[in-house]
């Protein structure tokens, strides 16, 4: 994580501001570092570190009840932790916006990531979450723009998936 631009974090931050999102919840991931740092440096955005990703679904729902827009940022493995939690915005037909950095895809060096990586899309879709996967930085940004509209104007649940190749594979060599 150097200071150079990764082609999407700055634009996503801009869209967060544009959409009026003031609450960002997360169990962090390496690929989210730049975005989370940028949000953290903004006094108008509150970044909440979670003990498990599903708390972000509850916090986002409660925030919506009180008139605040939230974004949950997580790694793909965390998708498995939030399944029953998604029943809350699904039942209430309330907004749920998620940004997911993918593991277990092309270039993955850790086979233990494959099972949950493969399950992300079917699990989300089974819970009624629309998945928009960006396989380039530009696609990630345009999907996120669309997602904000779907979530906050139409009350949908949407996950923007950032393909592993956009972030770069994690290596385990020393």
């Amino acid at each position: 994580m150097s200071g150079e631009d990764d082609g999407w974090s700055g634009d996503i931050y801009g869209l967060i501001k544009e959409a009026g999102i003031t609450l960002v919840t997360t169990v962090p991931d390496a690929g989210l570092t730049r975005l989370l740092k940028t949000c953290d440096a903004d006094p108008a955005i509150r970044v909440v570190t979670l003990s498990t990703e599903e708390e972000g679904v509850g916090i986002g729902y409660g925030a919506w009840l009180g008139g605040t827009r939230a974004l949950l940022c997580l790694q793909s493995s965390g998708t498995g932790n939030i399944i029953n939690g998604l029943a809350l915005p699904a039942f209430a037909e309330s907004p749920c916006l998620m940004l997911v950095t993918m593991r277990g895809q092309e270039g993955e060096g850790n086979p233990a990531q494959f099972p949950m990586g493969r399950a992300v899309r079917p699990v989300f879709e089974a819970m009624g979450v629309t998945c928009l996967e960006g396989s380039t930085a530009d696609e990630v940004v345009s999907h996120f723009r669309q997602a904000c509209e779907m979530v906050f104007s139409e009350g949908k649940m949407v996950a923007v998936l950032i393909a592993q190749k956009v972030i770069g594979a994690k290596t385990f060599s020393k």
Binding site: E55, G58, Y61, G62, A63, W64, G66, G67, L88, F91
Partner: protein
């Protein structure tokens, strides 16, 4: 045998509710809240066990000038016990948590709960970083509960050791979108649309 009855305890806490927003956990907390203090400012929960405290936290962050009270049971609290650390870290001054601890999963057939054995929810809260806590067991102690939960600077957590419920369940609406739209209209007014 616990002497406190959970619906009575909740009624006494909410006697002078004074605009507090209340998030009840699924099951008996949900029914008791509807029975003793029905309001559009109740965010009735029907699912998502473990997410009552996070929901209350999100609401407390969004509405810092309103008192937010989470009421839930020991089983629901244990499932989301990590969220107490998140509450402590965020330190919302307007958030209070009341755990009705009957030491059992009453809703599903009164199976023994973890707090009947060794787990102490007040101590877990303290260890999570919530500095203001209390456990009440007697009628006299309940007198202090309302002020503690509704007036004290948050975050605060109280555990009420209660008997198995003796009251008939009464059910709030199961219209999920309706709960949200009424709640938002009552809190946000015309901004909610």
């Amino acid at each position: 045998m616990a002497e406190l009855h959970r619906r009575d305890v909740l009624a006494r806490v909410l006697e002078e509710r004074d605009g507090a927003l209340v998030v009840p956990g699924l099951g008996t907390a949900n029914y008791d809240l509807f029975a003793v203090s029905p309001s559009d400012g109740n965010a009735y929960m029907w699912n998502a066990m473990g997410l009552t405290v996070p929901t209350g936290l999100g609401l407390a962050i969004a509405q810092p000038d309103r008192r937010v009270l989470v009421v839930t049971g020991d089983g629901e609290m244990m499932m989301g016990i990590g969220s107490l650390s998140v509450v402590a870290a965020q330190a919302p001054e307007n958030l209070s948590i009341l755990v009705m601890d009957n030491e059992m999963f009453e809703e599903t057939g009164a199976q023994t709960g973890l707090s009947a054995k060794r787990a102490d929810i007040e101590k877990i809260a303290v260890g999570s970083g919530i500095e203001k806590t209390m456990t009440v067991r007697t009628d006299n102690e309940v007198a202090r509960l309302a002020a503690f939960l509704l007036k004290e600077q948050g975050p605060v957590l109280a555990v009420a050791k209660v008997a198995a419920s003796r009251d008939e369940p009464v059910f709030p609406t199961m219209d999920g979108p309706g709960i949200v739209s009424k709640f938002r209209a009552s809190v946000l007014g015309s901004q909610s649309i």
